[in-house]
Symmetry: C2
């Protein structure tokens, strides 16, 4: 599980195109995530059209690195697929994390661009992608080969561990 510690947020990418096979492996990892009552309330929008990708930084301030990639995946939750109300955010977050780890394992880079619960980002992305009302974008993952090297970051903090009670 070295990927858990080696994964870093990548914001510089090479021009190389990511294969369809690789994209499917990443999405397959997302779909293997646990979900409340196994509801699997997710959808994945694979965007390769640079005209669409380049629209995103116009409304999402932290997403300028999208200009460098040839592929982005948007992870969405479908309220109609929920069995347990309110858990779609956690389900889709687990899926997103699996995808980041799989990208790392495949030698790719990515970064978790947060969308939900920022209303203006949600609405702009829904409009750009033509999402129905019941489908909410949670995160955007740029997918590409990293053009920056980052060392694993040690975030361990013993003060955040509590015993038995607070």
């Amino acid at each position: 599980m070295k990927e858990i510690f080696e994964r870093r947020s990548i914001r510089k990418y090479k021009k190389d195109t990511v294969s369809e096979e690789t994209i499917e492996k990443i999405i397959r990892a997302g779909m293997a995530a646990p979900s409340a009552g196994n509801e699997q309330p997710w959808h994945f929008i694979v965007i390769k059209d640079k005209n669409i990708i380049n629209e995103i930084p116009k409304f999402h301030a932290y997403s300028r690195m999208l200009h460098e990639v040839n592929c982005a995946i948007v992870v969405c939750g479908d309220l109609f697929l929920q069995k347990y109300e309110g858990f779609w955010v956690q389900d889709c977050s687990a899926a997103t994390q699996n995808m980041l780890l799989m990208a790392q394992a495949l030698g790719l880079g990515s970064v978790w661009l947060g969308v939900y619960p920022r209303e203006e980002r949600v609405e702009a992305l829904k409009s750009l992608l033509g999402l129905p009302d019941n489908v909410i974008p949670l995160s955007i993952l740029p997918i590409g080969y990293p053009a920056e090297e980052k060392m694993p970051s040690d975030r361990f903090d013993a003060f955040r561990i509590h015993r038995e009670k607070w």
Copy 2:
């Protein structure tokens, strides 16, 4: 990354005790998760006192397997540690997923028991653990050696993949 596909929800456990070293490895994996602006808004409550663990199924209907384990970890979000409002749920979900994967890698079993956003579970757990107002329990992970064997589950569904737009 076989752990992503091998991980299953384990609800039957052996009586063997989990070592402190193992518990720290699991929490270390949680702390390696990405978070909005690297805010790391998490706390981890390690419960080994069976009297405390056995209180949880009294208010959480899906947590009866807790009676079988000698350790449970509660993942909490701290609203005071948030830099980006509302993202603590996603941050703590990514941490939870990392922990499930690390448990799998170490030969342990676990299952994601959802707490937030169920108000009655949140309040009962806050009271049981003496959590301050700003600390919200998101999930509970029983930690133990699995006493059931489950095959990887193939959840791949091509219909959930969309191209360019919805």
